[in-house]
């Protein structure tokens, strides 16, 4: 798709704001807001400089930021207009909901093959009867792997010679890498000029910036190589219905980030309020809140989620009129899954904060505030909440990776995201039977594995760094 085409599509389409889109963008705004706060406050800056003194934390943060960019692009949805039936007819919109990322990846999305094909292959991974005309004019039916529609189309029909194939691949890798380097150089130059001109990071660590640049550079080159190869091949092959696997993993990033972030955030207010109230007021309030969270945590998590998801699925199935498109239906299921996951995990933070509040209510400054007649709500908001903020942040980051991993398991059991969506769990679930095929179809699973491990590993490493820097108890360890 050309750039002008791209913008005219954006212009004419009907914008669709799904619930999780709004939440993801709200999160992004929240993130930008806290960034401003951090940059302005010297104390906060010191803490975060401590986090990013660790090289692994820098690399992880860059990787997560890039994943977030994909997720945000994938969170602007629109319905393209249908072609006019009559000149004066009202504009009607397609029922297919696409995201901006879909438009960018149009080539990957549109080129469907018939079924499985290996990474960088030019033929299907399955044999089909093909009618061949022999030199003497007779026709013969042979079983061979037919050529792909969207991969290797520039090669002449028939078998492709090894040299042409490899030369083409090398050429595309080379061009892609050069393109990546050039783009990165331009980007980094602009970024460095902006950084020097506005001088907003005078005290920051130059080594950290070097690692940001290095990681971004590698990602740009990988992106360039993938783009180059995608012009003529399926980089990670295609799946059972012939869909490009690279497209699927890129789409799965959004699901993973929504699942990783939204559950903790939607139930965070509940956990904070319950925990602080229980610890601060003690007595009857404490008894009631403890009863509530012991009850909720007594229910096996998977079963609670299963029960809730099944119930909601029945509700969704019984009210098809609520949703205009399949994407909206899938999105409501994703949102409810997030809320349910949050409901099973708020007890952890409530328990933690209860302990902290119990301790802090005896601190002198809290007692002084109470002696001055400051109301309980004011004390909790002004004097206790800011001090437990590091604990909340650490929990949030630590929960991310376990939630992303949980999604895979839930989708495998069939109580995860809607089967019409893309997610790592669904990919693994679909791929698990592929290993018993002959020839072995390994590429879907491998692609899901690679992307998922990188995402979760980055989150884990960042969480470690944040905990080391923010949690005074872990001082001097590891």
């Amino acid at each position: 798709m050309t750039i002008s085409n791209f913008f005219s599509t954006l212009n004419q389409s009907l914008w669709v704001w799904l619930a999780t889109d709004v939440l993801l963008w709200a999160l992004f705004v929240l993130f930008l807001g806290s960034l401003v706060v951090i940059v302005r406050s010297p104390l906060q800056r010191m803490v975060w400089q401590k986090v990013f003194r660790q090289r692994l934390a820098v690399v992880s943060a860059v990787l997560l930021a890039v994943a977030a960019c994909f997720a945000l692009l994938d969170s602007i949805h629109l319905r393209e207009p249908l072609p006019h039936t009559a000149p004066d007819a009202p504009v009607r919109y397609s029922v297919e909901v696409n995201s901006v990322l879909d438009l960018i990846l149009l080539d990957l999305r549109k080129d469907h093959e018939k079924t499985y094909s290996a990474p960088l292959a030019v033929t299907l991974a399955a044999l089909e009867p093909v009618t061949v005309t022999l030199p003497d004019g007779t026709e013969e039916v042979r079983r061979e792997a037919p050529r792909l529609k969207a991969a290797g189309a520039i090669f002449p029909p028939g078998p492709v010679s090894e040299t042409t194939y490899w030369l083409d691949i090398l050429q595309r890798i080379g061009l892609g890498a050069v393109g990546g380097v050039v783009l990165f150089a331009l980007f980094w130059l602009a970024f460095t000029i902006a950084r020097r001109t506005f001088k907003w990071d005078q005290k920051s660590n130059p080594i950290a910036w070097r690692w940001v640049g290095g990681t971004l550079g590698v990602l740009f080159i990988i992106g360039g190589v993938f783009t180059g190869l995608s012009t003529n091949f399926h980089v990670f092959g295609t799946d059972k219905v012939g869909q490009d696997v690279l497209y699927q993993v890129l789409k799965s990033l959004r699901t993973a980030l929504v699942i990783g972030l939204v559950p903790t955030l939607v139930t965070l207010p509940l956990g904070i309020a319950m925990g602080l109230a229980a610890g601060y007021f003690r007595g009857k309030v404490d008894d009631v809140i403890q009863y509530i969270y012991t009850t909720v945590s007594a229910i096996p998590g998977v079963l609670l989620i299963a029960a809730a998801v099944l119930s909601i699925q029945v509700m969704i199935d019984n009210h098809p009129e609520w949703f205009a498109t399949a994407v909206e239906r899938g999105d409501i299921r994703l949102l409810s899954l997030c809320i349910i996951l949050g409901m099973t995990s708020w007890t952890g933070i409530a328990r933690l904060l209860r302990g902290e509040a119990l301790k802090m209510r005896e601190f002198e400054y809290v007692q002084a505030a109470r002696a001055f007649g400051v109301s309980a709500a004011q004390i909790l908001l002004r004097h206790i909440l800011p001090n437990v903020f590091p604990i909340i942040l650490i929990t949030l980051v630590m929960e991310f990776s376990s939630l992303v991993l949980a999604e895979a398991v839930l989708s495998y059991i069939g109580i995860g995201v809607d089967p019409t969506m893309f997610s790592f769990g669904l990919m693994i679930n679909n791929a698990r039977m592929e290993l018993s095929r002959d020839p072995v179809v390994w590429w879907s699973l491998t692609a899901a594995f690679l992307f998922m491990v990188v995402l979760v590993l980055a989150a884990n490493l960042l969480a470690d760094a944040v905990r080391d820097a923010l949690d005074p108890r872990s001082e001097g360890q590891s």
Partner: protein, 326 residues
């Protein structure tokens, strides 16, 4: 001590009633029994009579909480909440969608679940504690650092990959063990059990090893360790005689919680390896949307969890003489 246990058991009753209320609300209030009937009967056979019959067969045709047509105590007992939720306390789990006795199924499937869960638990605990001690022994060296990075790496891999990869490598390619299955004969069963247990242990290694290492490191910074070393004990003696024994307290109390839950089996391992235990029973029930089974398993799971909490408190008194329960 006895009074303490009794009080804790009595305290568990309102929590279990709360658990029942939550599951009840999920199953009967979000969706009416009519919706459930429609789903179970499928699209084709849905007629008002069929729905009524389905509900009557399963006892879902009663009022939810209060039966106004009945008299006396039956006003409360002749309701869905009483007959479906409160009877769970007496061990009556009812029947599953295919008409089998759920209580009987649970008793039959407990054995295979334990056959996987107990070896996994014992081997896993032994291995992770030894690994953590090993890392602590070499603390500050490259061995320790590599170990921690490896642990984080293992933690970042979904257990699904361990299962699928393990099955593919050892059962399909190398053909060392059967892919899946189970036998009640112990002489044959170990053949089926060795791979699932190994996979489950490896999948759990990363998180626990790192956590135990932190606990041991916390212990090593304490004064009594300095004293022990000051009186001339060797590094190994300090580690095994002092640090290990004290570090085991938080580890022990942390693992005691999960011991009763071992009965519940492992959802993923059992369903991938075809073990007829409670985990695969639960997964099948979820897939078949069998609400009666899910309800029974929720109840069983919460009872075992609460039992774990009580056992944790008791284990504190066993390993730490300073703690007295009143």
């Amino acid at each position: 001590m006895f009074a303490y246990i009794l009080r804790r058991v009595l305290y568990a009753v309102p929590i279990l009633i709360g658990v029942n209320l939550i599951t009840f609300a999920l199953f009967f209030m979000v969706n009416s029994p009519d919706d459930m009937a429609r789903m179970q009967l499928g699209v084709k056979r849905v007629t008002p009579e069929a729905i009524e019959q389905w509900k009557a067969e399963r006892g879902y045709d009663k009022p939810l909480f209060v039966n106004e047509t009945a008299s006396g105590i039956a006003q409360v007992t002749d309701t869905v909440f009483y007959s479906k939720s409160l009877t769970l306390f007496s061990g009556e789990f009812g029947r599953s969608e295919d008409g089998r006795e759920i209580g009987q199924e649970i008793r039959e499937r407990m054995g295979p679940s334990l056959a996987i869960a107990v070896p996994t638990f014992v081997v896993g605990l032994g291995l992770t504690v030894s690994l953590a001690l090993f890392l602590v022994l070499f603390r500050g060296t490259w061995l320790d650092r590599t170990g921690v990075v490896l642990c984080v790496g293992l933690m970042s891999i979904s257990s699904l990959f361990f299962i699928i990869g393990g099955q593919f490598l050892f059962a399909r390619v190398l053909q060392l063990v059967p892919i899946s299955g189970y036998s009640s004969n112990p002489l044959v069963a170990w053949h089926f059990l060795i791979l699932p247990v190994a996979v489950a242990v490896v999948a759990g290694i990363g998180g626990s090893t790192r956590w135990y290492r932190t606990l041991f490191l916390e212990e090593i910074g304490k004064d009594y360790v300095r004293t022990a070393r000051a009186k001339g004990l060797s590094d190994a003696a300090v580690l095994f005689r002092h640090v290990l024994r004290n570090g085991l307290i938080p580890i022990l109390t942390g693992v005691v919680v999960v011991i009763p839950s071992l009965f519940m089996g492992s959802l993923l391992i059992e369903s991938f390896f075809g073990i007829p235990g409670l985990g695969s029973y639960t997964i099948d029930a979820i897939a078949a949307q069998d609400f009666a089974v899910v309800r029974a398993m929720v109840f069983l799971g919460s009872v075992l969890y609460l039992l774990g909490l009580i056992l944790t408190d008791l284990s504190y008194t066993l390993v730490d003489p300073r703690i007295r329960l009143k």
